[in-house]
């Protein structure tokens, strides 16, 4: 099985889908150059400027035009350079893309994919306006799908599924994972939405981690196994909307102790929804209060020290798991 980076996996997915379906187009700021993170680099060479082109510097225009294009029959995959700038596309996403199918009585659909790099990352040091994660904003809008791959294999498989989905998809990529390597199956590799993956088995406790926290969660589980002898299950939800609630609750019932690890700010973040679901539907299986290890409710500063202060690390996860046993 070939090994490649998260970035290469995304590029392969885009290329394969563009080959398979003429209606798939890719655009955004500096997409031809593949500026910033390089995912779209080279697509223009294979598919030409009609299918891979640069947009004006207006996130509102990018997504709104994508909605329009999709209503006209195309399947646009647009790139927003930093997740933080999605704020400028909110109306197009929330009031247009997410509503069009409902408001047209099912007659219209907006099969757009909006990709953006989310989160903080060690090397890049983006600072307060280039490091945020607000997946929970999009989870909160009925009509939007929210996809969060944590591995190269999932990046490719989920992007292909997203492009083929007739619904608007917010495709959350993670700067901290762009350079990660992993094995990606050859051939037609599709990962379905709403199917979580158990990355590590365990019965003593569980960590459900959002994508950027997955490597830290796995490392924490190994540390705990060595120190405390506890086996911690690590669950990768893969897609936040649709959410694999069955798998989540089954894991809760099996382990009785839940820690949610997320990079986004704790207040009203992804974890709060997961915790509420668990409390509503599996409270009698809990042997400890649910623990959320999340980013501090603070902007992420532009220096290493400030970033490390706000973004949770493996140690905080280990400490959180230990508290589940008190």
């Amino acid at each position: 099985m070939p090994e490649m980076t998260y970035v290469e996996a995304l590029r392969e997915a885009l290329a394969e889908e563009m080959r398979r379906d003429d209606s798939v187009i890719v655009y955004g700021e500096d997409v031809k150059l593949g500026y910033a993170f390089g995912i779209t680099r080279g697509l223009v060479d294979e598919f030409g400027e009609e299918r891979s082109f640069d947009s004006p510097m207006s996130e509102a225009a990018i997504v709104a035009s994508a909605v329009g294009a999709s209503l006209g029959g195309l399947r646009p995959v647009v790139e927003i350079q930093f997740s933080d700038f999605l704020t400028l596309s909110m109306d197009a996403l929330v009031n247009q893309a997410a509503k069009v199918h409902f408001m047209s009585g099912g007659q219209l659909k907006a099969p757009i994919v909006v990709r953006a790099p989310f989160g903080a990352v060690g090397v890049f040091r983006g600072g307060p306006q280039h490091s945020q994660s607000f997946e929970s904003w999009f989870m909160h809008v009925p009509g939007l799908k929210v996809v969060t791959p944590s591995t190269p294999a999932d990046a490719k498989g989920l992007l292909k599924t997203a492009i083929r989905d007739d619904n608007p998809v917010v495709f959350c990529e993670y700067k901290s994972l762009y350079g990660s390597r992993g094995q990606v199956p050859e051939g037609e590799h599709l990962v379905p939405f709403g199917k979580a993956a158990i990355r590590r088995q365990g019965t003593d406790a569980m960590i459900v981690a959002t994508a950027p926290m997955m490597p830290k969660a796995l490392a924490a589980a190994e540390t705990i196994a060595k120190d405390g002898g506890w086996e911690v299950l690590v669950l990768d939800l893969r897609t936040l909307a649709p959410l694999d609630k069955d798998c989540l609750l089954t894991c809760v019932k099996q382990t009785h102790r839940v820690l949610i690890a997320e990079e986004d700010c704790k207040t009203a973040g992804v974890g709060s929804e997961l915790a509420a679901i668990i409390a509503e539907e599996a409270i009698e299986y809990l042997d400890a209060p649910i623990v959320r290890v999340a980013g501090l409710d603070a902007p992420i500063g532009a220096t290493a020290a400030l970033e490390e202060f706000v973004v949770p690390d493996e140690k905080r996860i280990v400490g959180g798991v230990r508290s589940l046993f008190t």
């Binding site: 009785h256 299986y285 809990l286 042997d287 400890a288 209060p289 046993f325």
Partner: protein, 410 residues
């Protein structure tokens, strides 16, 4: 004004029940006179007045449970206004409960508990949802679960542990359907508490027993020679038990780590040598204590033991008579027993029991056989505090002193 504080009567408990005030407010009392009757553990003891004066205020009513060192009354001294002193009591009053601290009924059948399992969700009991669910399923009453995690919550593992413990307790004999006929008889409080104490002692302390025959020839000689003088001084003759108290006191001075208790991974080595002497009463077994036995003469020990026996008969113990022991001696010789493997009196580390005197042939130096008065000693030891070598050395020393009483002069 003198504060009347409930003294810490024993370190194995944290509270006691005030049963009777022997004086009423307005009455005079002298320092050292008995003022309050307090019930704790196995007996009712008297607490003496801390000073001379007029009882101004009673701040712990009869039949309330009071923690040690709590303020329970006020004395007005000479020249003070009794009413003024009494008035200050109101601001310093603590609310004491009437409920007894804890007497877990180990023999209660599980089926009886199932009915109250529903009440387990009452307020005040902190338990995780899983623990509550498990308690319901197992019929465990959460109010009876004493274990909990560091957070204070009762967890699944705590409910499980409690369930297994309760399962291990056998159901009451009277609940068995077939068997011989009989009647239910009340057991005295002392007997019940003793039984519980002994069970706990065996559960918690890993016991082992060392045996040794003691030649009491020399000890008897000393006893006979001292008897007339001691009798005229304190009114009773020294007993073999009293002699053993003296010998053990000296041996403990030489082996301070036997005069200790195991305290949660460390040893608590006591600086005082207080030897308890097991006594049988109509209520059951009690162990009054001879304090500072290592510093007392045989005359003083004889006097103390006689006084303790009298108090036992008259049920007239003082607070410190039954507490503070660091070692126990049990002499079953008077009951015709050869030897007994005793159970240690917690939280002490060891117990010496003695059997009856039997005249036996003994082979002495030069292969000469003589008939000697022998008493069999058994030293019960808590292995967390001492191992075989430590215990053996102590017993050896003890026997050496007993067989050579002149060593008491060292």
């Amino acid at each position: 004004m003198i504060e009347i504080i409930l003294p810490a009567l024993t370190w194995t408990m944290k509270e006691a029940r005030v049963t009777r005030w022997l004086k009423s407010p307005g009455e005079q009392i002298e320092k050292g006179q008995p003022l309050i009757e307090v019930e704790m553990d196995k007996a009712v003891v008297e607490v003496e007045s801390p000073g001379t004066g007029t009882l101004a205020a009673i701040m712990a009513e009869e039949n309330t449970v009071v923690p040690f060192l709590a303020l329970i009354g006020l004395l007005a001294t000479e020249g003070e206004d009794v009413k003024a002193v009494a008035a200050t009591a109101a601001g310093r009053q603590t609310a004491f409960a009437t409920g007894i601290a804890k007497e877990a009924p180990a023999e209660e059948a599980l089926s009886a508990v199932q009915a109250t399992a529903a009440a387990a969700s009452a307020d005040g009991i902190r338990a995780t949802p899983l623990a509550k669910k498990l308690a319901r399923e197992l019929g465990v009453n959460l109010a009876e679960v004493t274990d909990h995690g560091p957070s204070g919550r009762i967890r699944e593992t705590d409910v499980n542990a409690h369930f297994l413990k309760a399962k291990a307790a056998t159901p009451p004999v009277s609940a068995r359907p077939l068997g011989p006929s009989g009647e239910l008889v009340e057991i005295s409080r002392v007997k019940r508490l003793t039984g519980e104490r002994m069970r706990q002692s065996l559960d918690v302390a890993p016991h082992f027993w060392l045996h040794r025959d003691l030649d009491i020839t020399e000890l008897q000689n000393v006893r006979a020679r001292l008897a007339p003088r001691i009798e005229s001084a304190v009114g009773s003759r020294p007993s073999l038990t009293g002699m053993l108290v003296k010998v053990v006191g000296a041996a403990l001075r030489r082996h301070p780590h036997v005069n200790a208790s195991f305290d949660n991974e460390r040893l608590l080595v006591w600086s005082d040598v207080n030897i308890g002497v097991a006594m049988a009463t109509s209520d059951g077994l009690i162990v009054p204590v001879v304090h500072h036995a290592d510093r007392k003469s045989i005359e003083e020990i004889t006097r103390d033991l006689a006084e303790l026996r009298r108090r036992s008969k008259d049920k007239d113990f003082r607070a410190q008579d039954l507490s503070g022991g660091t070692f126990t001696i049990s002499n079953l010789g008077m009951f015709g027993i050869d030897w007994v493997d005793s159970i240690i009196n917690p939280p002490e580390a060891a117990l010496l029991s003695a059997g009856r005197m039997v005249r036996k042939p003994v082979v002495l130096q030069g292969d000469i056989i003589e008939i000697r008065p022998m008493v069999h000693l058994c030293l019960a030891i808590d292995h967390r505090v001492l191992d075989g070598a430590d215990g053996s050395r102590f017993l050896q020393d003890l026997v050496e002193i007993a067989e050579n009483p002149v060593f008491l002069l060292l």
